[in-house]
Amino acid sequence: MNVPLETINELKTAISFGIFSCIIAFLWAPALTKILYKFKLTRQGEYDATLSIASKVGTPIMGGLLVIITVALVTILFNWERKFTWVPIGVMLLSALLGGIDDVMHVYGHERRNRKLKQIFTLIRVHSDWKYRVWLIITLPWSIFKRLALTLGSHPGKGVHVHEKLLLQFAAGAITAWWIYFKLGEHWQLINLPFDGLINIGWWIIPLIIFFVMFTANAVNVVDGMDGLVGGSLIITFSTLTILSWITGYHEITLLNATVAGALITYTYFNVKPARFQMGDVGSLGLGALLAINVIVINKMLLLPFFAFIFYLELVTVIIQIIGRYTLGRRIFKMAPLHHHFELKGWTEEKTVMRFWIAHGAVVLLGLWIALY
């Protein structure tokens, strides 16, 4: 088979973008590390700190900025295209902003007040200021939602709470979905059924985009914790997406995926054990949302569970653990997400990370194979 020269050139350009973003990220990584140390944006002794014997307290967080900023800059400067790259970069920056606020609040914030519903009802009855009582009644549904999130395992720390995150992510997903549906035309409403073909799902794309963006962003966020795990897994995914989008003819998305993969190579270089910095919510939420959008734009939404396999698997274990806790009163896994379960079973961090990379790589490869039909 003779591949047209133009197509080969596209691949060459994509590889160049990958190498370029890798070098750019490498050049400013030391500066980022210094900035993170200067502002003391380092890991604190958080409730959900990893269990590894070698403590990660003191390691800079927000290392994900390396990827987010590099990708945003390279794309805005060299690959800015209304139909295809505005939305992915916009969603990535919006999610990263939310994650960044969370990371900063974890360091500089203070413990947040969490009233129990019983206390709120008491205040509604007895508070001397009638205006405050009305305010409590108006905000009661929000308080119930907040309490529900706390009951389901959200630990009330200094950062953005789960119920707030979900609401903000929903808003980000909804804005994106609205933009895609009303501004970008029919192409975005198509999804590819493996072994069948493209179908137009019309306005159903809106809830699906919201769901997949939220789910994938949170899934990547959940996996972040072990040195190298998120970075390595995302390199596999974005490299595969580069190939897939090249094969399917999405030039701008090919370049974008290659840019992300390149920046991730540098990030992972600094993130493997012992990590120079960790991704933080700024990176994991941003890149998770970007991953979802980049798969949606090439109409392969249904294959997201393959391309985001390890992330989805880990998030599903968290959901199973919560269900097990409330229905059976027992832990299904020793600890969730899944990498902590293996850590508690005695696997070393390196062994867990590498096996997860391998498992993820195998399933992503399967996803690529299916995507070609």
Partner: protein, 270 residues
């Protein structure tokens, strides 16, 4: 001597000496009545097995960066109590009887215990999912689940149920008979069966027969950190008198029981 199966005795042993490596502590007492935690892990609401308890404590210690190997027995017990990890009386009895029934090939305790007072289908589903959490002294005491036996007929696996105890007479408690040891010469000749369990030639309780029981309890003078699962005895001094007239190795429990509204010896309807 007659006693529970080795499997059930192993459960008791594990509660008396929680399977931590290096430390030797009994499982503390914890009752969710005051904490009223809903939907929690069973190890955290006083219903966990020894394995659940050790696993939960280990996970919390890892999360809080506490090295168990550096803790003394007292410190470890304090840790468990501070983290509200322990077992209540009915939880202890449930786990032991469950092991006993399984050892005898009678299935699990969940199949035997009935709760006809629950009519709501959602509640029934919850009971199926979380049987231990939905079992209390009242469940064991209910006439559909157990029947009363005389002191002279007492056997391992029987329950000593105390109803309406405490200052306000609103507490219930349960003890589980783990062994019945006959001191008369003829019973000393009891021959162990193929499972290694010695059965007396006569099941009648006589003078000097020792009833060994286990329970989980906190006496007021136990303080904050000295309570938990214990194994004690009642020596029969006169089989014709009731249980409270016998000699208890735990006089406090005898006194506690005496002030209660009711004290019955009951056996599960299997």
């Amino acid at each position: 001597m007659s006693s529970l199966s080795p499997q059930a005795l192993e459960v008791i042993k594990n509660y008396l000496h929680l399977p931590f490596s290096g430390q030797n502590i009994s499982c503390p007492y914890f009752n969710n009545r005051r904490a009223r935690l809903r939907g929690g892990l069973r190890a955290l609401i006083g219903k966990g097995s020894p394995e659940d308890i050790v696993e939960e404590a280990t996970i919390i210690s890892l999360r809080e960066k506490i090295n168990f190997n550096k803790l003394t027995d007292e410190e470890l017990k304090k840790f468990l109590i501070d983290k509200k990890i322990g077992i209540d009386c009915s939880g202890l009895v449930y786990h032991i009887l469950d092991a006993e029934l399984k050892a005898k090939g009678l299935g699990n305790l969940q199949k035997i215990l009935k709760r006809p007072w629950f009519k709501n289908p959602i509640r029934k589903l919850l009971i199926k999912l979380r049987p231990i959490e939905n079992t209390g002294v009242g469940t064991f005491n209910h006439e559909v689940n157990s029947f009363e036996v005389k002191l002279s007929e007492i056997q391992p696996g029987d329950l000593i149920i105390i109803i309406g105890a405490g200052i306000k007479q609103d507490y219930n408690h349960i003890l589980l008979v783990s062994s019945v040891i006959a001191r008369s010469p003829q019973d000393d000749e009891a021959i162990p069966n193929k499972n290694g369990i010695a059965t007396p030639r006569s099941s009648e309780v006589r003078n000097d027969t020792v009833i060994q029981y286990c329970h989980s309890f906190q006496y007021p003078n136990d303080g904050q950190y000295n309570h938990g699962v214990r194994q004690e005895t009642i020596t029969i001094t006169d089989p014709n008198k009731n249980l409270l007239e016998q000699s208890w190795s735990e006089p406090q429990m005898q006194e506690y029981t005496r002030k209660a509204k009711e004290c019955k010896i009951k056996r599960l309807k299997i």
